[in-house]
Symmetry: C2
Subunit: 416 residues, 2 copies
C-alpha cells in the first residue's frame, strides 16, 4: 500500500531564534496520525520569501500533504499569503464571508474599530479553497497542485486547532486512501530505560516487522510505545493487542497506566475508582503539583485544594508545623513534610495529602542540604509514606521531577 505522508512547515523567525516553543506541530502530528497520516518531516523556516518558497518545493517531493502554519497575521512580517498566491499563480480577491465574519468579530466581540489591515485579512488567492476560522481573522487556505494538497493555517494555536478540527481533518480522508496506524502506550515509573529494555528483550525480539517498539523517557518515567501499520485495520489492531498485552504483563511491577495519559490523569482515575479525596501541601513546588492535578478536567470530583507554604511563616502559622521542628530539623526534613501532610490532610478533610519541601536552586543549597534535595510525604488515615530524593538538575527540572515523583508516591500509596 502506498502511504500518503504529510509534512508540517512552520513559518516564523520566532521559531528560528527560539523565542517560541513550537507546540503546534506535536498536536497536529497526533491528529494526523490518528486518521492514518504519518509525518515525513517537520520543518521550521524563517519569514524569508526564498526560504519558504524552497521549502514548498522541497517538501512536496517527499509528502502528499503539506501543512503550513504561520505568517498569516495582519502585520508586515507576515508574508505567507502573498507568497502562496504567487506560488500557485493566483490573484488576491476579497472573500465576502470572511470579510463579514471579521467585521462581526471587531464589532461584537473585540468591540474595537476595524482597521484597514484587518480588512485585508479577508483577501485570499482566487485559486484556493477557503477554510473557515471562527477563532480569528485569518482564514485557512487549501491549494491543490499535481495531486498534492497544500494547506495554510494561522500559527496561533487555538485558531490552527479550530480549523484542523472543523475543516481539515474531515476533508483529508476524502482526498486520499489512508493507512491504518495504531499506537498503544504503557507508562512506567521507577525503572530506567536500559533496565526496561533488558526486562522486555524477549517481547521485543518477538515483534513482527510491522510493529515497532519505542522507549520514551521523560521526567523520571519511561513510556513504551508499540506502533503497528497495515492495510487491514482489524488485523493490525488484533496483532498489536496481543503483543501489547505480553509487554504489559512483563512490566506490571512498574506500570502506571496502559494508555497514553500523563500520571496526573492516571491518579485521577484511581481516586475516582476508590472514591477518595486529595489535598496538597507544597513548599518548593510552589503549587505545581496542584496545577498538574487540576489540569485534568473533572479534578473537582477528588481534589479539594492546596496550601502553598513558600515562606516558613506560613508553614508555622497556617499549617502548624511547630517552630521547634523548623528550627532544629529545618523546613527541608522528613519531620516537616510528615507534619505538613498530616496537618493539611486534616485541615482540608481529605483521604490523602501530598507534602513536599526541598531546595530547587539555583541558590539556597548548603553542604548538608544541597540543591536538589527534596523530602516528600504522602499521608492517609492509615499510614504515611516518606522518601528523600536528590535531583541534580536545573530549577525547572527539579520542580518537575519533584512533582512527578510526589504524584507517583501517591499512586503507590493508593495501589497498596
Amino acid at each position: 500500500m502506498n502511504i500518503n505522508y504529510a509534512t508540517i512547515i512552520t513559518i516564523g523567525d520566532e521559531l528560528l531564534i527560539g523565542q517560541v516553543v513550537d507546540t503546534n506541530s506535536a498536536w497536529m502530528a497526533q491528529e494526523l496520525n490518528k486518521i492514518g497520516i504519518p509525518l515525513k518531516h517537520r520543518v521550521a523556516v524563517g519569514d524569508k520569501w526564498e526560504d519558504i518558497w524552497n521549502s514548498l518545493d522541497e517538501e512536496s517531493k517527499h509528502a502528499s500533504i503539506i501543512l503550513i502554519t504561520g505568517g498569516l497575521g495582519p502585520t508586515s512580517d507576515d508574508i505567507t499569503k502573498p507568497l502562496l498566491c504567487k506560488y500557485f499563480g493566483g490573484n488576491l480577491i476579497v472573500h465576502q464571508p470572511t470579510l463579514e465574519y471579521v467585521t462581526h468579530l471587531f464589532k461584537n466581540v473585540f468591540k474595537r474599530p476595524l482597521q484597514d489591515m484587518n480588512k485585508r485579512q479577508a483577501e485570499v488567492p482566487d485559486n484556493c479553497i477557503v477554510l473557515r476560522n471562527e477563532r480569528g481573522t485569518a482564514p485557512g487556505m487549501l491549494f491543490e497542485k499535481e495531486g498534492k494538497l497544500f494547506i495554510s493555517l494561522p500559527g496561533v494555536p487555538h485558531e490552527m486547532k479550530w480549523i484542523m478540527e472543523n475543516e481539515v481533518l474531515s476533508l483529508l480522508p476524502k482526498k486520499f486512501k489512508l493507512a491504518n496506524i495504531v499506537h498503544k502506550t504503557l507508562l512506567t515509573a521507577g525503572i530506567g530505560e536500559s533496565f526496561l529494555a533488558e526486562l522486555v528483550k524477549e517481547e521485543e525480539a518477538a515483534l513482527p516487522f510491522t510493529i515497532k517498539l519505542a522507549y520514551l523517557p521523560n521526567a523520571g518515567m519511561v513510556r513504551l510505545r508499540l506502533t503497528a501499520t497495515g492495510e487491514d485495520k482489524a488485523l493490525v489492531e488484533k496483532e498489536l493487542i496481543t503483543h501489547f498485552n505480553k509487554l504489559k504483563t512483563r512490566v506490571k511491577e512498574y506500570l502506571v497506566i496502559d494508555e497514553d495519559l500523563p500520571i496526573e490523569a492516571a491518579i485521577g482515575r484511581l481516586l475516582i475508582e476508590k472514591g477518595h479525596t486529595l489535598s496538597t501541601a507544597e513548599s518548593c513546588t510552589g503549587g505545581y503539583i496542584s496545577h498538574l492535578i487540576t489540569s485534568i478536567a473533572g479534578a473537582s470530583a477528588y481534589f479539594k485544594g492546596s496550601i502553598v507554604s513558600y515562606d516558613n511563616e506560613i508553614k508555622q502559622n497556617l499549617i502548624q508545623v511547630p517552630q521547634q521542628v523548623l528550627n532544629t530539623m529545618g523546613a527541608v526534613s522528613e519531620e516537616t513534610v510528615k507534619i505538613m501532610a498530616e496537618n493539611v490532610r486534616s485541615i482540608m478533610k481529605t483521604d490523602y495529602c501530598i507534602a513536599v519541601s526541598g531546595i530547587m536552586g539555583p541558590n539556597g543549597g548548603t553542604v548538608e542540604k544541597p540543591i536538589g534535595m527534596v523530602w516528600i510525604a504522602v499521608a492517609s488515615s492509615k499510614s504515611i509514606l516518606t522518601k528523600r530524593f536528590d535531583f541534580r538538575f536545573t530549577r525547572e527540572r527539579n520542580i518537575q521531577l519533584t512533582a512527578i515523583n510526589a504524584i507517583n508516591m501517591l499512586r503507590i500509596a493508593l495501589c497498596g
Copy 2:
C-alpha cells in the same frame, strides 16, 4: 560578510507522532543566536536510516553547522551513532574516558549493575571528536567534512544543554567568523497585534533594512522584537538602541518590561523594588499562578504562599468566604474573589494578594455563568481592583489566560 548558518536536525519517531513537544530546538536556537549563529532550518525526522541520511545531505547544502539531537540512547530504536559512523566512513571503537565515566555513573550515582548495552554507550566512531557528557551515558560527537561541522547530541534536554554549554558553544567561535546579531524585545499587555502595529507604524517605517521588527502575540500579550545584524558590533548595538528607545516611548502605556522576560519575572522585579510581598488565593487556576511566580529563582524574597481553594468547602472554612455569599452570589462572583483576596492577604500577612475564581471548562458552564467566565481581584492595604473576563477557549488556554491577566492586574496595581 558571509553568514554561517546552522540547522538543527531532531531525530525521533516521537516527534513525528507528536508524543513529545520539542523544547530542545528553541533553547538551542537562543544560544546559537546569542553567539551570532542564525538558524536556517529546524527539521524533525523519524528513526529511519534513509530519512536521517537524506536530511544530513540536504541540510549540509544550506548550513555550515549541522546540529543533530536524539537517537543516541542505549536501546534498539536509537540508530544515530551507527548511521553517523557509516556516513563519515569511520569504525566504532571504545572511548576509554567515556567508559570510565559510564562505569562511575552506574556504580556511584545510579547504584545499579552496568548492562552490556550501557557499556556500548562508550563506543564512538574513530573519526569524531568526543564531546563530554557529565549528565548521562551518551557522549556528544563532532565530525568535520568539507568545511562543515556536524555535531551529534543526546535528545534528553538536560544532557543536550550540558554538552552545549560546556563543549559546543565555546568551540564554534573558534571554527567560524561569526556575524553580530542583536535582539531587543518589549513585552506589552492590553493591546492587540493590529492596534500595536497601527500605533508604531511611523517607527516601523523609519527602520533601516538592517533592523527587522517582529510581532509575537502570546497569551493575551504581544512582544515586539527588533533584530539587527551587521559586522561592527558597537555600531549594530548603537543603531538598534536608538530605534528601540523610540519604540519603547511610543508603546509606554502598554509596556510590561523592556526585556525578553515573562511577566512573572517582571512583577518579581517590581515587588523587590518596592519591598512588597505577595500571596494568592486560587480557585479555577488550581495553583498555576503560584507556580508561575515561584518558577522565578529568588521568588522567596516576595512570595509567601497560596491557598488553592478548589472546593467551596475550603473557600468557606479556610478562607472564611461566608456561606451566604457562596449561596447567593456563587463561587464565581465579584463578591467572592474580593473576599478571597482580602482574607488571604490578611491570613498570609502580605502587601498584595491575587484571587481568581472562574469556570475553565470543558464542563460546568451555565447560561448565566458560561465556560470561560472568570472574576479576578487584586487586594492591597489601600485598594481592591476587580475585573470580569470572558475567555472562549480550551481548559488549558483558559487557565493560562486567567493567570497571565491576573498577574497583569497585579502589575497595574503595583504601578499605581
